[in-house]
Each structure stands twice: as structure tokens, then as C-alpha cells.
Symmetry: C2
Subunit: 152 residues, 2 copies
């Protein structure tokens, strides 16, 4: 397998993983500090989904850092297949979570004529924005891994 | 490029395109026949997104059928790159639309204690279910096209 930017065990790969963790953690931090998130299934799902992204990306960040430190190459078809499946699941779940929470945010702040709780509303919107950013970086990782696997 | 099930110009590829069109059309038909969908941004977005899926998949179904009838091979890197980009855009948009509408459906029928308009509620739920099915088939098409492009 070829070695290119974003592949496992590269600096770009590690940067993508760290970015996924940071965006997902910001999303959880903003959502979990609101007082009413547990009334909405979609917001709870957002927290669960971003939690999964953190666990997955943090694990892969450690593997990437280890591979960088020991100069090992992580391109066996089995490990790349595992990364592809994990990245597909996390990116799909995070897009679904971001979109469903985004739908409710638009419903409350647009369709129903504005949100009454000022600080909470900004937090909801920012949490959704960070979830979308986390999905975007995760999707880039998935596309790179899938390309690596398919190009053999 | 190798020729395998689901590639452009194959029977499986044509079947996937027809399935995408049918699921998206069912979703639009169910959503557009409710009386209140235009009050919800997410439901309008679902209709727009499923409309885009129909246009894209119908166009590709015609190309597939033409390739099957004339026994032409549609595996030039430029055409496959175009299919990959189009499939990625439509599958991402349809998942976002299905998830945002799903979030609102769960909010109304779960979190807020049930939906008062019986027939409308069933239609909303079915429209979301068909949108998810359309996304799933679209995602399969995208993964096949991307594999085809990457494997060269």
C-alpha cells in the first residue's frame, strides 16, 4: 500500500484524529452544559455519538503517535479494513446526530419563531456546528482509509 | 478498471439506481401529501433533497440502461470520478435530510408525548423511513464507485 498524507501512522493522519477528538469534545462540552438537553432525544443522541467519536479517534490517535514514534508502518489490509469500518460507522453516526440536532435547532430558532433561552440557544447551535466539523474531518479520514484499502 | 456487480453499465448498478429513484419518490409522495409539511424547514429540505436524488439517479439509470443495451463499458476515470462526486453529494445530503426529519419526527411523536394528527403522523414516519432506505442504496452505489476509482 502506498504511503500518502492522512494514512495511518502519518503526521496528517494524527492531526485529523486530534481534530476529530477536539471538535467532538467541544460539541459534548457545549451540549452537556445546557440545562434542558435531556428533554430532546436528538441532543442525547448527539452526546452519545460524539462520545463514540472521541473513544474511536483517541484510540487511533494513540496508535498513530506510537507508529510515528517507532517508525512502524500500519498498512496491513486487515488493520486498514478495521479502520475503514470504524471510520464509516463513526462518520455516518456523527452526520446523522449533527443533522438531527440541526433539524431541531432550526425548528426551534427558525420555524417556531425564535428561542427564549438566550445562552442555551447559542450553546445548542455551537454544539451542532462542532458536530458537523467533527463529521467533516471524520469523513476525510474515512475517504483516505477507503482509498488506501481499495488501491491495495 | 475491473468490472464487478454494481459498477456503471451493469444490471446490479441499474437495479441500485432504480431502487434509489423509487425510495426517493415514495418519500416525496408521502411527505408532499401531508397538509403541514411546509411549516417545517427539515421536511421541505427532505423533499428538495429527495428531488435531487431522483434527478441524479434517474439520469444514471438511463446511462446504465443505454450502456447495457449497446454493451458499452463506462469505466473511464473521468466518468467514474463524476459518478463518485455526484454519489457522495447525494448520499450525504439524503442522510442529512433523513436524519433531520427523523429528529423532528422523534421530537413530536416521542419527546412531546405523541402526535395528534393520526394519518399525517404515519405519513411523516414512512417518508423518513423511505428517505433512509434511499440513502442506504445511494451509499452502496457511492462505495462501489469509489472502490472502482481507487482500484484503478
Amino acid at each position: 500500500m502506498k504511503n500518502f498524507a492522512g494514512a495511518p501512522g502519518t503526521r496528517t493522519g494524527l492531526t485529523l484524529r486530534v481534530a476529530q477528538c477536539l471538535f467532538a469534545a467541544s460539541s459534548i462540552a457545549l451540549m452537556a452544559t445546557t440545562k434542558t438537553f435531556f428533554n430532546f432525544t436528538a441532543f442525547c443522541y448527539l452526546i452519545a455519538s460524539m462520545g463514540l467519536v472521541i473513544i474511536w479517534s483517541f484510540g487511533l490517535a494513540i496508535i498513530d503517535a506510537y507508529a510515528l514514534a517507532t517508525k512502524k508502518v500500519l498498512h496491513s489490509p486487515i488493520s486498514v479494513s478495521l479502520f475503514v469500518v470504524g471510520d464509516w460507522v463513526t462518520s455516518t453516526l456523527s452526520l446523522a446526530a449533527a443533522a438531527s440536532s440541526g433539524g431541531i435547532t432550526v425548528l426551534y430558532f427558525g420555524d417556531l419563531g425564535g428561542c427564549s433561552l438566550r445562552e442555551e440557544c447559542t450553546k445548542y447551535q455551537l454544539a451542532v456546528a462542532f458536530a458537523f466539523l467533527s463529521w467533516l474531518v471524520n469523513e476525510i479520514s474515512f475517504l483516505i482509509m477507503f482509498w488506501l484499502l481499495a488501491s491495495g
